[in-house]
């Protein structure tokens, strides 16, 4: 039977093939997720969907169209900009300025020592204090951070996972000392440790005790802090580490399931805590995919929570914060980042996010300045006030393409969720290292696509700006911050009641051994002016510190370059090098300090190995001294330092010094890659760094440069 529809379709197909001279079957493209994107979608594509219900409305199950019936028509999303740097005093100033300019909620970025549970005076964190966030050592810092910001009126989101106990305790005590009872505090603590083991690496304890801490916090807040979100289950960092959208979606929801189980194991009723679970997704440049992802996330979470037996409607609804993608930002032609961020923001809005952070355009190289932060905030203010996107709820509903994509994404994610479940849930999968490896594989594929030019990044591998603009960046004097913090710590230690501190820390240790709730005990310790580091170390006595073992993918990068001339050129050079020197060029790739973002290091390691290098991988969190020992014992030709948290100005000179200490004649070449503002280049070159590779560097070109530098060095000395 012929319908009008199929007649039209046949006609369309003919026209399409005539215009493009391509057979329609060949005209689809494939996304990173392995989803086929067709040139046209029709009504047929939204018949018989598996997860999406075409008749559902906003605020109705399965909540594909949004958690609320009115959405932005009633109240627009919350503009919640993530910020923090240097000392509490400076961050507090910055927050107050932003609130005056139209920002609605606060979102605190802590520095890496705080994340990893070290005080600023710890030798291990020399280069990291106040760099990628604000340094918090005691409750006094937390009080300064919220000075003149009434905590009963401000919702505060805190990105904290590792040192979640002392930091949340400090927040609660800071509230108390502002005369705000904890039951009035509103906001969110990230408290999502599983993804730390997968991608971000700012954990402290091993997975099992870490999960206990998560559950303790859910238990405590569900009873004592009704307005506070006990967890923000985050896919953001997965996408930043290179996960495609299906992996991000599936692993985030699978993490969520694991946290639900952890809370249930405390004897809580699901509806007591589930309404306070919140989510956090990244929004990258794949415009429609990102919209579909948020719709799919709500759809799947509804199904998951129903299966858990939740009855309260609020338990069934996924609410999420979103942030535009940091990894999509480029160092080259940086004003393009404003445009990228705007489209990403629009995706998040069309997907129905509850709050949003838009990145500043300079974040590929440094922390935002006042000026770049203003542009980022205005991106959202313009969307809210000028574009009309708030007038209609879920305006893309019914789009054949969007609905079909939402369903397709849901199906693919569901398969992966079931796979994780069959491994016994996310904690077990994480311990086995499965998700980490999958994400690294995905990251390496993406990088290969950019390096081979099959994916265009404007200003990077195509349409390059012949005259790169100079951009001013925010500079943090971490030595000054560290000195300030150390002074504050010493003052507090001199004036506090040491006996009370010791007793409350001892109680905390006992609580950990007896498996009772740790948050209550750590609040007491913090109230007595115990430091973040002291609370973390007390628990470390019981749980130990976690060290991740590191698996690597291989062959994924090289596969994209079969027959590629530049690639072959490097492998040829490597082979010649081997003949001439009796071994392959050998490079040690390291991270130093507390910066756990290892996507870049991993990609460099695997791709250099695919080009024939021998690549040594250092463990995370190495000190410059450790790196020097490692490099010299393995007699490497070069060290590649990956840095994303701005510690390089302290750590790299330290490394150079340590190398010379062990071997005064060391000829090891050092190159640096990652997030490095151009203002630092001269400083690094003065410290005998041989090459600097910023974000968006082509890895094949980088590898060639490294092998040339190594050869030069050898010839010079022969």
């Amino acid at each position: 039977m012929k319908t009008k529809n199929s007649d039209n379709y046949t006609k369309w197909q003919k026209s399409f093939e005539r215009e493009t001279k391509i057979d329609l079957n060949e005209a689809s493209s494939e996304t990173d997720e392995g989803i086929e994107i067709k040139p046209v979608y029709t009504k047929a594509d939204i018949e018989n969907l598996s997860f999406v219900d075409n008749d559902s409305l906003p605020g109705q199950l399965p909540y594909t169209r949004g958690p609320k019936a009115s959405m932005y028509t009633n109240r627009p999303w919350t503009i919640r900009q993530y910020a923090g740097f240097s000392t509490a005093e400076e961050s507090n100033d910055f927050y107050k300025k932003n609130l005056k300019s139209g920002q609605k909620g606060l979102s605190v970025a802590f520095d890496l020592p705080t994340h990893r549970g070290y005080d600023s005076d710890d030798d291990l964190v020399m280069g990291d204090v106040g760099k990628a966030g604000v340094a918090i050592d005691t409750v006094e810092d937390m009080k300064i951070l919220f000075n003149d910001i009434p905590l009963d009126q401000m919702s505060v989101s805190m990105t904290m996972n590792g040192a979640v106990l002392p930091v949340l305790s400090s927040f609660i005590v800071a509230g108390e000392e502002q005369n705000v009872n904890k039951n009035l505090l509103s906001g969110t603590i990230q408290n999502d440790i599983l993804k730390e083991f997968m991608v971000r690496n700012t954990y402290i304890y091993p997975p099992d005790p870490s999960m206990k801490i998560v559950a303790d916090i859910i238990e405590f807040t569900s009873k004592e802090m009704p307005k506070f979100n006990s967890i923000s289950i985050s896919g953001y960092h997965m996408q930043e580490a290179g996960a495609d959208n299906v992996l991000e979606l599936a692993y985030t929801l699978a993490d969520g399931m694991e946290y639900v189980r952890a809370a249930l194991s405390k004897g809580l009723d699901i509806d007591d805590f589930a309404p306070r679970l919140s989510f956090f997704f990244a929004i990258g440049t794949d415009f429609f995919m990102e919209i579909a992802k948020l719709r799919a996330a709500r759809t799947l979470w509804y199904k998951i929570m129903k299966d858990f037996g939740a009855k309260n409607e609020k338990s069934l609804i996924l609410r999420t914060h979103c942030q535009t993608s940091g990894v999509s930002l480029t160092e080259k032609d940086p004003y393009n980042n404003i445009i990228r961020t705007s489209y990403e923001a629009l995706s998040a809005i069309l997907g129905g996010t509850q709050s949003l952070h838009t990145n500043s355009f300079d974040e590929a190289i440094a922390l935002p300045t006042d000026e770049s932060a203003r542009i980022a905030r205005n991106t959202q203010l313009i969307l809210q006030n000028e574009t009309g996107v708030t007038n209609t709820v879920d305006p893309l509903a019914g789009s054949y393409f969007i609905e079909s994509l939402t369903d397709e994404l849901s199906k693919k994610a569901w398969d992966i969720i079931e796979e994780i479940e069959s491994l016994g849930g996310m904690t077990k999968a994480v311990k086995a290292g499965v998700p980490k490896l999958k994400i690294e594989e995905s990251a390496t594929k993406k990088q290969a696509k950019v390096d081979s030019g099959s994916r265009v990044v404007v200003g990077v591998n195509k349409f390059k700006n012949p005259k790169e603009p100079k951009v001013d960046v925010r500079v943090i004097d971490n030595n000054r911050v560290r000195d300030d913090q150390i002074k504050k710590i010493n003052d507090i230690k001199a004036s506090r009641d040491q006996k009370a501190v010791d007793e409350s820390l001892a109680k905390l240790v006992t609580a950990a051994k007896e498996d009772s709730n740790l948050l209550a005990c750590s609040i007491d310790a913090i109230k007595n002016r115990a430091t973040v580091g002291e609370v973390s170390k007390a628990l470390e006595q019981v749980y130990g510190r976690h060290f991740a073992t590191s698996l690597s993918v291989s062959g994924v990068y090289g596969k994209h370059f079969e027959g590629d001339e530049d690639f072959m050129n490097v492998t040829k050079k490597v082979n010649i090098f081997e003949v001439e020197n009796g071994r392959r060029p050998r490079v040690l790739v390291v991270k130093m300090g507390q910066d756990g973002h290892d996507r870049g290091a991993k990609i460099v390691a695997t791709s250099f190995a695919d080009m024939g290098f021998d690549v040594d991988m250092g463990p995370l969190f190495q000190s410059p001294k450790d790196v020097a020992k490692d490099a010299i014992e393995n007699d490497v030709h070069a060290i590649g330092v990956s840095t994303l948290a701005a510690g390089h100005k302290t750590l790299v000179p330290e490394l150079m010094k340590s190398l010379k200490e062990i071997d005064s004649k060391s000829k090891i070449i050092v190159f640096v890659g990652g997030v490095i503002p151009e203002q630092d280049y001269d400083f690094l070159y003065e410290n005998n760094i041989s090459a600097i590779f910023g974000p968006g560097s082509n890895i094949i070109e980088s590898a060639e440069k490294v092998i040339d530098l190594i050869s030069d060095k050898i010839h010079k000395h022969n």
Binding site: G558, N581, R583, A609, D610, M617
Partner: protein
């Protein structure tokens, strides 16, 4: 030779450079390397060489980290040679051992060197033996040699180490059937790792499987007993027993001369290997210079002579040169 003195003084950079030299595939380096090793052999240290092998995933590096920590706390100097596979396709490698040896790699009493296997079969790389001589001369008490896989048990045990241990995981008893002959013959110690948490009972069961397997082994009079040990690398338990066992085996074997015999055999093996390599190198040079292979092969192709006639003619030809 200055390098020798520096090695004996224990200078880290000198030891590292020396290892690079003995691993080098360059002809000049090989000559230098032979000179160096001859000098170092005159100044032997006191080290015990222990081989660790085992299938991937049993926690070899984690065990070495844990056991190593135990040893350096007791003030032993520990050298580690870890061999990682090179890619067959690209020739490159990822040497990630130190990501699993975090604590001991920082310790001043350790020297940890990873080496790519560079396509050498059996997982033992060119230069491992020489590297262990360097570390011995440099004063390391223990030299651990770690390889992937169990296939090279024989090479490892007969070629390189004083004690060969196999690390296995819980539940590996089933695989025992397949590898029984090789391991009962060559391994001195069986270490069952992951004796912790949920895996404890499985680990004990595996240990008894191994115990019963080695009971079939007919032991010759003058060798020490083989041992099966249970450890947990993560919880650092069972480590005293490992060092005790190593020391017992060493002292027993020293008493009954088995220790020296084993080292003597290794020298014979080494000499044989070197001779083979030199002959092969010379022959290859001759073959290149000669050219009769391609001529005669062509004749075989053309049907003018039989293949075996050609082979005989070529060998005759080469021998006469």
């Amino acid at each position: 030779m200055q390098l020798v003195e520096k090695i004996i003084k224990g200078e880290r950079a000198a030891i590292a450079k020396a290892i690079t030299l003995v691993e080098s595939s360059r002809e000049n380096d090989k000559k230098e390397s032979r000179k160096l090793i001859s000098e170092l052999l005159n100044k032997p240290g006191k080290s015990i060489r222990v081989g660790f092998s085992g299938p991937p995933g049993v926690g070899k590096s984690t065990f070495i980290e844990s056991f190593g920590r135990y040893l350096v706390e007791k003030n032993y100097k520990l050298g580690i040679l870890a061999i990682d596979p090179s890619s067959q396709i690209t020739g490159g490698s990822i040497l990630g051992d130190k990501t699993r040896m975090i604590e001991i790699s920082k310790n001043p009493n350790t020297f940890i060197r990873s080496t790519p296997s560079r396509g050498s079969l059996g997982g033992i790389s060119v230069g491992t033996r020489e590297a262990s001589i360097i570390l011995d001369a440099a004063g390391y008490d223990f030299i651990f040699i770690e390889t992937v896989g169990v296939g090279q048990s024989e090479t490892m045990a007969t070629n390189l180490v004083d004690i060969f241990s196999l690390i296995v995981g819980p539940g590996s008893g089933d695989e025992l059937q397949g590898i029984k002959k090789g391991i009962t013959e060559y391994a001195d110690i069986f270490i069952v790792n992951k004796n912790d948490g949920d895996l404890k009972s499985e680990a004990s069961k595996t240990a008894s499987d191994y115990k019963s397997a080695i009971s079939y082994y007919k032991k010759s009079n003058n060798t020490a007993d083989k041992e099966v040990l249970l450890v947990s690398a993560i919880e650092q338990t069972g480590m005293e027993k490992v060092i005790e066992t190593i020391q017992n085996i060493v002292s027993q074997n020293k008493k009954n001369k088995n220790f020296d015999e084993r080292r003597a055999k290794q020298f014979t093996y080494w000499i044989e290997e070197e001779v083979k390599e030199i002959i092969q190198f010379n022959i290859q040079k001759k073959i290149k210079a000669d050219g009769s292979i391609s001529q005669l092969s062509q004749k075989v192709m053309d049907g003018k002579i039989q293949m075996f006639e050609a082979i005989e003619a070529i060998t005759q030809n080469l021998q006469n040169k």
